[in-house]
């Protein structure tokens, strides 16, 4: 089938071909999306939908953002991909911005949130193994967590439906009760090298961590000399009303994993890393050789100067503090 005829397929044709050729790992909505503008998407039959999913928190700037489109067009005419073997200015500028806007001293780039979490686990084990011995390798995650579907991240995502078909999983993962500090304290010991937690659990049911819980987990990490990893893949980059969810809690992690909205829709992830962990460099012997989404780096780099922090979060005046049904992470029961 040619590209021309593909664009003239009916929605039923598309769904039939999908059923025939695409592996059915997701249940799909009964329409075929064609284009979008602002917060709206349109299907091939002309129906408009107000999109309150945004690619599951990916399309933070909506559809048809002029700045993103211009940056993409400009960069696409220059270079699409550059191997990790070479320097480029946009990547280092983005890294600089991410550090300047967070606690971090260094940035590691990758292609997705699950890769960011895999990398954070590796950094934690490398850090602990270097300084404290191989026995200190346990990673603590929480009930209700979702950290991704690659094997390491899946091992820290204690949902039976996700894990059962793929066992055995990564060893050395312990699950503690979310928002239960006393229960978490029972899991902690000197073998723990890192604790990973979402400040707001997304996939798990939209459960914000209690501030006292996160503060207590920070204290436990300090007590047992373990690293604290915040997974802000879904709740970070403005989703909770501050650029990073941790800012609203006043609790600073040692590593922060981000992805989804980072490049406005292109696949891109990152780990923001404190000097304490980054001091392990040179890392080239053990870092995975993932290509970094350099085009995405150009995109987000291009979009940030025109949209400083407050504008990204509240460009419409819809401040979480003043709009009860808005973007603040809250749970309406």
């Amino acid at each position: 089938m040619t590209a021309d005829s593909a664009s003239e397929m009916s929605s039923q044709d598309v769904m039939s071909l999908d059923k025939k050729y695409v592996l059915a790992t997701y249940a799909r909505a009964p329409f075929v999306l064609d284009h979008g503008e602002g917060c709206w998407v349109y299907d091939t039959d002309g129906h408009a939908y107000l999109d309150c999913v945004a690619g599951i928190a990916v399309n933070a700037l909506g559809y048809g953002d002029a700045g993103l489109e211009a940056a993409l067009a400009e960069q696409a005419s220059k270079l699409w991909h550059v191997s990790n073997l070479y320097y480029t200015a946009p990547q280092v500028r983005l890294a600089e911005q991410l550090c300047q806007k967070s606690f971090a001293d260094k940035v590691f780039f990758c292609n997705s949130g699950t890769e960011a979490n895999e990398a954070a686990f590796k950094f934690a084990r490398k850090w602990a193994g270097t300084h404290l011995g191989a026995d200190k390798h346990v990673i603590v995650a929480f009930t209700g967590a979702f950290h991704g579907r690659t094997f390491g991240a899946l091992s820290a995502t204690p949902k039976e439906k996700y894990q059962a078909p793929f066992r055995p999983l990564l060893p050395g993962i312990q699950i503690a009760p979310f928002n239960d500090l006393a229960g978490t304290a029972k899991i902690m010991n000197d073998a723990v090298c890192a604790v990973i937690v979402e400040p707001v659990q997304g996939e798990g049911g939209v459960f914000p961590a209690d501030p006292a819980f996160l503060q207590g987990v920070r204290a436990l990490c300090n007590r047992y000399n373990a690293l604290l990893i915040f997974d802000e893949v879904q709740c970070g980059m403005g989703r909770t009303g501050t650029l990073w969810a941790y800012e609203g809690y006043g609790v600073t992690p040692d590593m922060l994993t981000i992805a989804k909205p980072l490049a406005g829709g292109l696949p891109m992830g990152a780990v923001l890393i404190s000097q304490r962990v980054a001091a392990l460099s040179p890392a080239r012997r053990w870092l995975p050789a993932w290509p970094r989404y350099w085009l995405g780096a150009c995109l987000i780099r291009s979009s940030w100067p025109a949209r400083p922090r407050a504008a990204v979060i509240c460009s419409t005046g819809c401040r979480p503090q003043t709009c009860p049904t808005s973007l603040r992470s809250e749970r309406v029961v």
Binding site: C52, D65, G205, C318, S326, L327, S329, E330, V332
Partner: protein, 59 residues
């Protein structure tokens, strides 16, 4: 990010929302999750709430 626990299956509520021209997703069998673009306007938020209400009433 907003989560709403509802007393019907999330899947049926999501389909009802589609019929009202609204896209929402789930976070569990009886939990809806809303994560709109951060550029959403107050008017669009009101419209989303209105359409979600209509969808749930239609069930």
């Amino acid at each position: 990010m907003v989560g709403l626990d509802i007393d019907v299956a999330a899947g049926s509520a999501i389909n009802a929302a589609y019929s009202q021209g609204l896209i929402v997703t789930s976070a569990g069998p009886q939990t809806l999750r809303l994560l709109p673009p951060l550029i959403i306007t107050p008017k669009e938020i009101d419209l989303a709430v209105e359409r979600l209400g209509a969808a749930l009433r239609a069930l």
